[in-house]
């Protein structure tokens, strides 16, 4: 009997590893090995024809910390995250509350909110280019109706990053809305009725009942928005290319530029490692801390 059980266990182990192997090979090739290789190459100097690359320890990191552009980029990305995350969550929540209430033209409203989600970021950037172009763009045309001077939204350091931020919010809010929408539909009707009987105002009902019940969804969306604030950079290629004078440059764009425009792979690797560490901390916080605090069952 135990021989049979043993055989079965062995069979399952063999099958298990066989079934896993294709995925394991690709994950190793394109996730695990590259992560370790990135860490490794971040500790070597940039090889030139005269001087081959050699081990330099943390020198690449020290160089980055001494690089003023790096700090501008970090500051930009923090602002980018700090604005896009809360604003798109707030707009997504408003959209969901509206799209879930009994208003006229609800179908149209839902479609309109969600449509940007299916567009590529590159296309979104092209659409917004028409808004931002100085003189000819829609924003300037509207401004000139009120006698406002022409503004080069993408061409001046004060506004370039904000122009980028607006496109990101426009792109992701509708996507986040559907998660709220789904969560809203699981809230039982009786709660609304009970609140009405108690004479609670709509505001009280929303703040005291709906928002707490939406907390797990908000967390899920916040993590997604945080990941997006690292990876949504495609529109930079069309709208600003990180300029003017680095005013709208974000980390991933800078990594790309370092590696594929300046051919400085070690610096790119050092920055990549820092991004991975930050993402890892976010993941750890989500897994070990917040997940426990937002379950009500």
């Amino acid at each position: 009997m135990s021989a049979h059980a043993n055989l079965e266990r062995r069979r399952q182990a063999i099958y298990g590893w066989l079934l896993l192997s294709p995925a394991a090979v690709l994950l190793t090739l394109f996730a695990f090995y590259p992560s370790i290789a990135t860490l490794w190459s971040s500790m070597f100097s940039r090889g030139t024809r005269r001087r081959p690359s050699e081990f330099v320890g943390t020198e690449n990191y020290a160089d980055l910390f001494a690089d003023p552009t790096f700090w501008i980029v970090v500051k930009n990305n923090l602002l980018y995250a700090g604005v896009t995350i809360p604003v798109s969550i707030f707009i997504a929540l408003s959209m969901a509350l509206w799209a879930n209430s009994k208003i006229s033209a609800r179908g149209f409203v839902r479609t309109a909110y969600f449509t940007p989600t299916v567009l590529p970021m590159i296309a979104a950037a092209n659409l917004w280019l028409f808004f931002y172009t100085p003189g000819l763009g829609v924003l300037d045309q509207i401004g000139s109706l009120f006698g406002l001077p022409s503004v080069n939204w993408l061409g001046q350091p004060e506004t370039a990053l904000w122009a980028i931020i607006i496109v990101t919010i426009w792109k992701e809010a509708g996507f986040f809305m559907i998660f709220y929408l789904a969560a809203l539909q699981t809230i039982p009707e009786d709660l609304k009725e009970a609140a009405d009987i108690e004479g609670a105002s709509r505001w009280t009902y929303t703040r005291r009942i709906v928002l707490p019940l939406l907390m797990p969804t908000t967390l899920f969306i916040a993590v997604n928005a945080m990941i997006n604030s690292v990876k949504l950079i495609d529109h930079l290629f069309i709208l600003t290319k990180g300029g003017p004078s680095d005013a709208s440059k974000l980390i991933l764009y800078y990594i790309w530029e370092m590696a594929f425009a300046f051919f400085d792979a070690p610096s790119a690797a050092a920055m990549t490692i820092m991004v991975i560490v930050v993402l890892g901390i976010v993941a750890a916080i989500q897994f070990f801390y917040l997940d426990k605090r937002t379950h009500y069952q």
């Binding site: 099958y15 996730a31 309109a112 495609d234």
Partner: protein, 269 residues
């Protein structure tokens, strides 16, 4: 009072909706009018399809469309095969090292392929896949997200069905193919919609790995077409943009409900 609040609600919702699709509407407007009419917002000017004709002849769009289509197909097939096998192993088989490997897979959810562009580029070149559709697609095939999704879906299959098929003499792969895969159809559909729209829209990685019109997908083609160095005007860029988003946008408008359901199913763990 109630009526007023309801009116304000509808008003706010519709106003936001109009703001939200305004960029698309303006692009449509610009694409169907001559450049000077478009920028002057001349409401009574003549409609034209000239911009689409100019845009279409300005780049090998048909090739780009085919490339994107091939790319999303290759990725989807690869993902289906890999995530089905791995998801099944994680969901229904017991073997040593399973939990450890599963944690490794979950880690990949946070190490985004986008962040590893430099080393992945080196890897693709090493494998001789630079500037090929397979090279663009390969890093996405063993999607941790997909493995997780399939595992969840397979875990929901009643064990009785598994046992019944085994008693009938079905092998393990037979059970997977005849019992688990058919029951997970909605998950496959949801995953397919999410995967196709993600990779139809992906830009940074294809930009790095492709180097010729032979493999370039639409997004990269569009960014090159619209580059300021090419001096293309706004009406023609709008026409090109609308052309390249049209297939996905039309599909979305037709299958809206399924799309939204798909994103939901994929997003909620």
């Amino acid at each position: 009072m109630k009526g007023l609040i309801k009116f304000l609600d509808s008003f706010g919702a519709i106003l936001l909706a109009i703001i939200w699709i305004a960029p698309l509407l303006f692009a449509f407007w610009a694409a169907t009018h001559s450049t000077s009419d478009a920028v002057n917002l001349n409401l009574f000017s003549a409609w034209t399809l000239e911009n689409f004709r100019v845009a279409w002849s300005g780049a090998p769009w048909l090739k780009y469309f085919i490339n994107t289509f091939l790319l999303v197909t290759v990725i989807l097939i690869g993902q289906f095969i890999l995530t089905t096998l791995a998801g099944f192993a994680f969901a229904q088989l017991q073997f040593p090292g399973k939990d450890f490997v599963f944690i490794l897979v979950l880690m990949q959810l946070f190490i985004l392929p986008e962040v590893l562009i430099v080393e992945n580029y080196a890897m693709v070149s090493r494998l001789g896949l630079f500037d090929s559709t397979l090279g663009v697609g390969m890093p996405y095939m063993a999607s941790a997200f997909g493995i997780f999704l399939m595992r969840q879906s397979f875990k929901g299959v009643p064990i009785e069905l598994h046992e019944a098929a085994r008693i009938e003499g079905c092998g393990l792969l037979g059970i997977l193919w005849r019992v688990y895969v058919p029951l997970a159809k909605p998950t496959y559909l949801a995953y397919a919609l999410v995967s196709v729209s993600t990779h139809w829209n992906n830009f940074l990685w294809p930009l790095i790995v492709t180097n010729s019109p032979e493999t370039r997908p639409l997004t990269v083609g569009l960014s090159i077409f619209g580059a300021p160095e090419n001096g293309v005007d706004i009406s023609i860029i709008s026409a090109a943009t609308l052309m390249s988003v049209a297939p996905l946008l039309i599909a979305f408008l037709i299958f809206q409900r399924q799309f939204v359901q798909a994103f939901l199913r994929a997003g909620i763990k």
